[in-house]
């Protein structure tokens, strides 16, 4: 399974989020970096929420110690979450991913997933 798949999934996620008026209202004034760290790969990818949309997908880690949400898990698990096959809250509760973020950020990510992919 190539890294490109996760990149593509995150890119599609970005486009879907940016294309949803409902989600854009939900992420108003929310400006974290979202970092995906595959535990079985050298590097991950990140995006930046800029208060109304998501910026481009970038390889590596964001610089600095700002507002960061990091999701760590197997490449396949991250791919499954960011293509809507697995609910992120469920994956977290089942222990298949680790989410380094405060409760509010986790709620926001879960809400985005529900709007994008339903139940």
């Amino acid at each position: 399974m190539s890294d490109q798949q996760l990149y593509d999934a995150l890119e599609t996620y970005r486009q879907k989020v940016n294309g949803s008026e409902r989600i854009r209202r939900m992420i108003a004034n929310w400006e974290p970096h979202l970092l995906l760290t595959p535990s079985d790969r050298e590097q991950g990818f990140f995006v930046k929420f800029d208060g109304s949309a998501i910026g481009p997908v970038t390889r590596g880690r964001p610089a600095g110690d700002g507002h960061l949400i990091e999701i760590e898990g197997a490449h396949a698990e991250l791919l499954s979450i960011f293509t809507g096959k697995t609910n992120p809250a469920q994956a977290f509760l089942n222990g298949s991913i680790s989410v380094f973020a405060d409760d509010k950020d986790q709620v926001k990510l879960d809400a985005i997933s529900l709007v994008l992919w339903g139940l």
Partner: protein, 309 residues
């Protein structure tokens, strides 16, 4: 042929309910008909009032509100299923005939709750298989463990432990959640709100029955037995508190995401006494809810005259 329960109507059985402050006629099917069949369910169809005009358009048009609504109902579906299975299992274990009849009505209540919550999924076009998949996906592992724990007590034929887990802890500690939920959904879907209110009324009755039974049985226990009952109470309470802490934090956040979009519709709901939804932060909502759960349980223990070490 199934043999009749050995303890049915045995004349020398102690009258637990009378001794626990409940008259037998409060437990019989006629009481159920007066209270529920001809009371809260009068003029309803699957829990909905016949003149119900349906949900607010926001519930249909906003995908987030709709998903949170269905997840909420999924939690009810899971809990009600365990409740009717557990109550049915408790029926032959009940210590007297009046209790057996009462528990039979509880089985009916729980099965009916299950059915009306399932009907909500059906109204949204979900098949039973799709509904069960959603329930399986969103019920947390901690909730599932607690449901298993209740059924385990029934399997062990431990009437007191099962009554504590089912009637005192799962149903009793959830009072503040019921209050929150029926207020929260009152504008998005008044019929769900009234279904939750009706279920809450039934659960309150079950909890009072559980209190009467457990406090009566507790009063007659020796020191070792009392110690065991207190340990069970503490263990179950701890597990349930853990569940509530996780779920309340996450879902109050989700409700808030929905409210932010529809504040004109829901902002003036007095979600807690003296607190309108538009004015109360998520953090305060979580704090109040968790405190109410704790206070409610403490009052229940006091009513049962049980002092935990």
């Amino acid at each position: 042929m199934t043999p009749p329960p050995h303890d049915l109507a045995t004349p020398d059985q102690p009258a637990f309910l009378s001794n626990g402050g409940w008259k037998a006629n409060r437990c019989d099917m006629q009481a159920w008909l007066d209270r529920t069949g001809n009371g809260t369910l009068k003029d309803t169809y699957y829990g909905r009032k016949r003149d119900d005009t349906g949900p607010h358009p926001a519930l249909l048009s906003d995908p987030l509100v709709r998903q949170i609504y269905l997840i909420d109902i999924a939690f009810f579906v899971a809990a009600e299923k365990v409740s009717y299975l557990a109550s049915a299992g408790l029926l032959p274990l009940a210590p007297d005939e009046a209790s057996q009849i009462y528990i039979a009505s509880q089985v009916m209540d729980e099965a009916r709750h299950y059915e009306v919550f399932c009907k909500k999924f059906a109204d949204f076009g979900y098949t039973p298989e799709q509904r069960n998949r959603i329930v399986g996906t969103y019920v947390t592992p901690a909730m599932r463990d607690f449901h298993d724990l209740i059924l385990e007590q029934v399997d062990k034929k431990d009437f007191v432990a099962a009554t504590i887990a089912q009637n005192i802890i799962m149903e009793g500690m959830a009072y503040p959640i019921y209050r929150y939920e029926y207020k929260y959904w009152s504008r998005f879907d008044p019929s769900l709100s009234s279904i939750i209110r009706g279920a809450f009324a039934d659960e309150s009755n079950h909890v009072h029955y559980g209190e009467a039974m457990v406090s009566h049985i507790y009063a007659g226990m020796d020191r070792d037995e009392k110690g065991r009952l207190c340990r069970l109470l503490q263990r179950f309470e701890g597990l349930m508190t853990e569940i509530f802490e996780g779920v309340v934090k996450h879902y109050v956040g989700m409700y808030q995401e929905c409210s932010n979009e529809h504040m004109a519709l829901v902002g003036d709901i007095e979600i807690f006494k003296g607190h309108l939804l538009r004015d109360v932060s998520e953090e305060l909502q979580v704090r109040i809810l968790l405190q109410e759960i704790k206070d409610e349980h403490a009052r229940r223990l006091a009513r049962m005259s049980i002092v935990l070490p």
